[in-house]
């Protein structure tokens, strides 16, 4: 009976979303006060319903209720309880519920925390959000109901959670990512409301900015965790694959970054109003498009869920409805958004304009490469192609270069126009400090230098120096100056660290595949690697071969274990990499095939500065989170 309770709650939620999606709008446009809803209470009720439904699903997992088809497909009696818990969002159906829950969490936070006092505006944001949540809930109930039962004879045991998902990073990566994606709902709903009421640019931008920053922060964390998980769990040592699904998260990330920068200008100067509206629509649409690409299985991807064209069509329908709907409003409404503020080429406004231009063109080019196989298949009548990682690297490099150069001088710019004397003086100061930093890093690093790595190291130093610049006013203490701009300092320094990590790891990594018997050792970089022994071990729901490896250099002698696991009952193999983490490099080894007796193949890698990539992403997330919280308090 209990799963039905969750099912019924979900249906009640659907109905309430429908009512919430229609009534408040009707009240405004037909001027009938009687139709108004107490939106704070309704939002709370909605939130309780979806939370309850989600808790029931978690409960079904925890008590091993295999009569629920979704539980039977994604859990198993022997699965440790924390993975049973996480298995709730381990596949398509459950993750949809989590997604809806996340949207509702954003809505409730917005309704209760925003400083917006305009009731009509708030009611509209509420209604638009309800419409989106209604569409997702309808989709869940019609095509992907997680509460569906296998009756009358339920299986005795479940099929198990995909072994590569049985991992701590996986338990938090999807929720963070879904919170990031779904957070873009709020800027979208605000943009639609701003169009309907022709709200003053400065006003609506101030409502939208904190939520854009917060969802960008969650997206950053979600993507970074996914990258980290792929790095150590898949056993390949890669951290980014340009997989369609990674791109599907990267594109909304780029657009959300563009959006909150554009919103800064809109809020402070009242310019770029229409552009910010368009960007809000675009960011939300690409996050929906990402869902479509993942869930319909139309692209070759390591992430693809089981194929189901019907689901794809349904999401495409939702996507079309909201994109076309909002774009129609955009084109027919006579928007009075862009007002008179003027600016010069060396102004902050123009800096933001360039930033947005570069980010958006980059996002579109990546999106194009991602969906190009589909276009190609359609125009050539079924010929299949894939677009390789080099395409994306060729595209990314010049844009990242231009963005980085801009980022290094961006903080010197003033609104309207910048006084060129102090501007040039400070850029000159910056250049000197940059070359000092480069020399330092090269000293830590190595003997040989590649052009691309030099450029990325230069860029990292350039961004860092531009962020930690000296204060404009001499009489202000440097630390209090930095403290005042804590958020931007965190985020921009984070970007510098990320760029440095990417630049170094892509040029200076070492990699080797070879065959070893116990007792063998070999030289690798500045390390001596020895395969000491291999033994059988037993886990809660797997058995494995674990190899003991030692890495020895002039100072340290560290041992590490790499495993080849066989999961019961699926029989699926996974590789657990052995990783020694150091501040400046990772020593990485993963077990390959068993050739005979105790002889195994191994893949050994040295990854310098790889940790800096995730550290940088973490700082970016902290920075945008701080900025978002500050904006909520201030607005």
């Amino acid at each position: 009976m209990i799963p039905e309770l969750g099912h019924i709650t979900l249906i009640a939620y659907l109905v309430l979303c429908l009512v919430g999606g229609i009534l408040p709008l009707a009240a405004i446009f037909f001027n009938k006060a009687a139709l108004e809803m107490p939106i704070k209470r309704v939002t709370s009720l909605l939130f309780s319903l979806i939370t309850f439904s989600f808790l029931i699903l978690i409960y079904s997992f925890l008590v091993d209720d295999f009569s629920v088809a979704y539980v039977a497909q994604n859990s198993n009696i022997n699965l440790p309880f924390y993975f049973k818990f996480a298995a709730t969002w381990g596949a398509h159906e459950g993750s949809l519920i989590l997604w809806i829950l996340a949207m509702n969490a954003w809505l409730i936070s917005f309704i209760f925390l925003t400083k917006c006092k305009n009731t009509d505006f708030l009611n509209t944001v509420f209604s638009i959000s309800c419409q989106v949540m209604f569409a997702f809930t309808l989709f869940t109930l019609l095509t992907s109901n997680p509460f569906e039962r296998i009756l009358p004879i339920p299986p005795l045991n479940g099929a198990d959670l995909n072994p590569s998902l049985q991992d701590i990073a996986f338990t938090i990566h999807p929720p963070l990512l879904y919170f990031g994606y779904s957070g873009l709902l709020i800027p979208f709903a605000i943009a639609v409301a701003a169009m309907l009421f022709n709200t003053d640019t400065k006003e609506w931008a101030s409502y939208s900015r904190p939520w854009t920053l917060l969802s960008c922060s969650f997206l950053t964390l979600g993507i970074a965790l996914g990258s980290w998980w792929a790095y150590y769990e898949l056993g390949w040592g890669g951290w980014w694959f340009w997989d369609p699904v990674e791109n599907a998260a990267f594109v909304p990330w780029l657009l959300s970054v563009a959006l909150f920068h554009s919103l800064i200008t809109s809020q402070s100067k009242g310019v770029f109003g229409k552009w910010s509206i368009l960007l809000s629509i675009l960011a939300f649409s690409t996050s929906l498009l990402g869902t479509f690409l993942v869930r319909s299985g139309i692209l070759t991807s390591v992430h693809a869920f089981a194929l189901d064209p019907e689901r794809g069509l349904f999401i495409l329908g939702i996507l079309a409805f909201f994109i076309v709907g909002s774009l129609i409003i955009y084109s027919i409404k006579d928007l009075n958004q862009d007002n008179s503020g003027t600016y010069e080429l060396n102004s902050k406004e123009f800096g933001f304009l360039l930033n947005n231009l570069l980010l958006v063109i980059l996002a579109i080019s990546i999106l194009f490469g991602t969906i190009f196989p589909l276009i190609y298949e359609a125009i050539t009548d079924g010929k299949q192609i894939s677009v390789g990682a080099p395409y994306f690297e060729i595209i990314l490099f010049p844009f990242a270069l231009a963005l980085g150069l801009l980022q290094g001088i961006a903080l010197y710019l003033s609104w309207g126009s910048s006084s060129s004397f102090s501007f040039i003086q400070r850029v000159f100061l910056e250049s000197i400090s940059v070359f000092g930093l480069i020399l330092l890093i090269l000293y830590i690093l190595f003997d040989n230098l590649y052009l691309t790595s030099f450029i990325t190291i230069f860029l990292a130093c350039w961004i860092a120096a531009g962020t930690l610049q000296v204060s404009k006013k001499r009489n202000i203490n440097y630390w209090s100056f930095l403290k005042k701009r804590l958020a931007v300092t965190f985020a921009h320094v984070g970007m510098a660290i990320l760029v440095l990590g990417v630049g170094v790891v892509s040029s200076y990594s070492l990699e080797k595949e070879l065959i070893l018997a116990p007792g063998d050792s070999f030289e690798f970089g500045d390390q001596i690697v020895s395969f000491e022994s291999v033994e059988d071990t037993l886990g809660p729901n797997y058995f494995s071969k674990s190899a003991n490896i030692s890495f020895k250099d002039t100072q340290n002698d560290t041992n590490v274990i790499t495993e080849k696991r066989t999961y019961v009952p699926s029989g699926q193999l996974t590789t657990e990499a052995g990783i020694i983490m150091e501040p400046f490099q990772d020593l990485y080894i993963s077990m390959g095939d068993n050739l005979e007796a105790d002889i195994w193949s191994f893949k050994v890698q040295i990854k310098p500065f790889i940790r800096w990539i995730w550290l940088g992403a973490l700082l970016i997330a902290i920075g945008s989170m701080l900025a978002g919280i500050k904006q909520i308090r201030r607005a």
Partner: protein, 141 residues
């Protein structure tokens, strides 16, 4: 010039340069990094140049995997149930690579008609099959 117009001009020029650069980049990068997918049957028919990088795939034939014991060389056969294709690969195979499972390889043809793979991709979980391979199987049945 009136400041607003000047402003529009700046923006327009920036957009123009940006999109031209992007279009040029996209076209040149795409023409070099587009890998066509072939089934074993299509490879038989198509007259492919030996150094063209392509993708091929199908099901790994039961009993066809031969691993060398003192090097990382491995030979296996993929099939679309009409024709077979022999694949040579040097390196560690992914964990999900198995007999009778879908696989996609990237590489080029050897002179003897076999395929030299530089990358082997296996399916991600039991329910999932690379779309190219899934399509092949559908066409068969």
């Amino acid at each position: 010039m009136n400041p607003i117009r000047k402003q529009r001009l700046y923006a327009l020029v920036a957009i123009l340069i940006g999109s031209l650069l992007a279009t040029w980049l996209v076209i040149s990068a795409l023409s070099e990094n587009m890998n066509l997918f072939y089934s074993p049957t299509e490879i038989k028919v198509a007259e492919l140049n030996e150094d063209t990088l392509i993708r091929a795939g199908g099901m790994v034939k039961t009993g066809s995997i031969i691993k060398d014991t003192n090097s990382l060389n491995v030979v296996f056969t993929v099939t679309d149930y009409q024709n077979d294709l022999e694949i040579n690969y040097e390196g560690i195979l992914p964990d999900l690579f198995a007999e009778n499972a879908g696989v996609v390889v990237r590489g080029n043809l050897n002179t003897d008609g076999s395929f030299k793979a530089i990358e082997v991709l296996a399916k991600h979980d039991e329910n999932y099959m690379p779309p190219e391979v899934a399509k092949l199987m559908q066409e068969d049945s």
